[in-house]
């Protein structure tokens, strides 16, 4: 378990990839929020959030993603979610937010979605 934020900036496609790890709950969502804000400041064309290492997310995590979506729309950044695990998908479903987001299966799809 490292506590460092993993951010890969794939310069080729102009896409930033954020890959949070662990559970995103009340105690951890603020750190993800900050990481998203930092990336937004660089105005990438595309922000890919890879959730494949996130086994659990509660409403604070979802709120963080909704906020990111709103910021990305304002800044004309394409936001794509990839690697949504089952519990995280349930949380999106029960809050009826699945359709709000562009969700794809693989990182490759995320560059084209």
């Amino acid at each position: 378990m490292t506590r460092e934020l993993t951010v890969d900036l794939t310069s080729v496609a102009g896409a930033a990839v954020l890959r949070p790890g662990g559970d995103i709950d009340m105690s951890c969502a603020p750190a993800v929020r900050k990481a998203v804000a930092n990336i937004m400041r660089d105005r990438p064309e595309r922000l890919i959030i890879d959730l494949s290492a996130v086994a659990y997310m509660d409403s604070s995590g979802i709120a963080t993603l909704v906020e990111a979506l709103q910021q990305s729309m304002r800044n004309k950044i394409k936001l794509v979610l990839v690697g949504v695990t089952p519990q995280v998908h349930s949380a999106f479903e029960i809050t009826k937010l699945v359709s709000m987001f562009t969700i794809v299966a693989t990182l490759k799809d995320a560059s084209n979605a």
Partner: protein, 156 residues
């Protein structure tokens, strides 16, 4: 309520304790026969309820007391969890999920709790604070997995 709760937990209003409590709720609901999906939602609902107590009841203080009293239910099979705190008391009618059409961050916890649980009831606790009663019954297809006599966590 049948007899005494099978498990009582007392914890502080510390967000760091959310993760172990989720693991515990997941393990307990597994032993009762809930499907993996139901278990994920149950852990989520309890997490949201605790997060609300920490955030709204105790204004993010980490030294507030929270009690979880837990019953296994039989016929119909399921789980009852009663959360109590000594934090701010609010009129239960003010605790409502927001309109999901209004997309904004926040305001999802109560919606998640109500959608997930078979029953959810907020009350002001007589001695101060709030009491939240949560009940989730097994779905018909989950009932086959639940056997009151045999041990639930193994397929010997």
């Amino acid at each position: 309520m049948d007899r005494e709760p099978c498990i009582s937990v007392r914890l502080f209003s510390d967000p760091k304790l959310l993760s172990p409590i989720r693991a515990f709720v997941d393990g307990l609901s597994k032993s009762i026969g809930f499907s993996e999906k139901s278990r994920g939602l149950l852990s989520l609902a309890v997490d949201e309820a605790l997060a609300n107590v920490i955030r709204h009841g105790y204004s993010e203080r980490t030294d507030g007391l929270i009690w979880l009293n837990i019953w296994r239910l039989h016929e119909p099979a399921g789980l009852r969890i009663v959360l109590e705190d000594l934090g701010r008391s609010v009129d239960p009618t003010l605790i409502k999920g927001r309109n999901l059409a209004d997309v904004r961050p926040g305001g999802l916890g109560v919606h998640i709790i109500k959608e997930t649980m078979t029953e959810s009831k907020w009350e002001m606790r007589p001695g101060g604070g709030m009491r939240l009663t949560l009940v989730k019954l097994l779905a018909p297809e989950e009932r086959e997995n639940s056997s009151p006599t045999q041990s639930e966590n193994c397929t010997p």
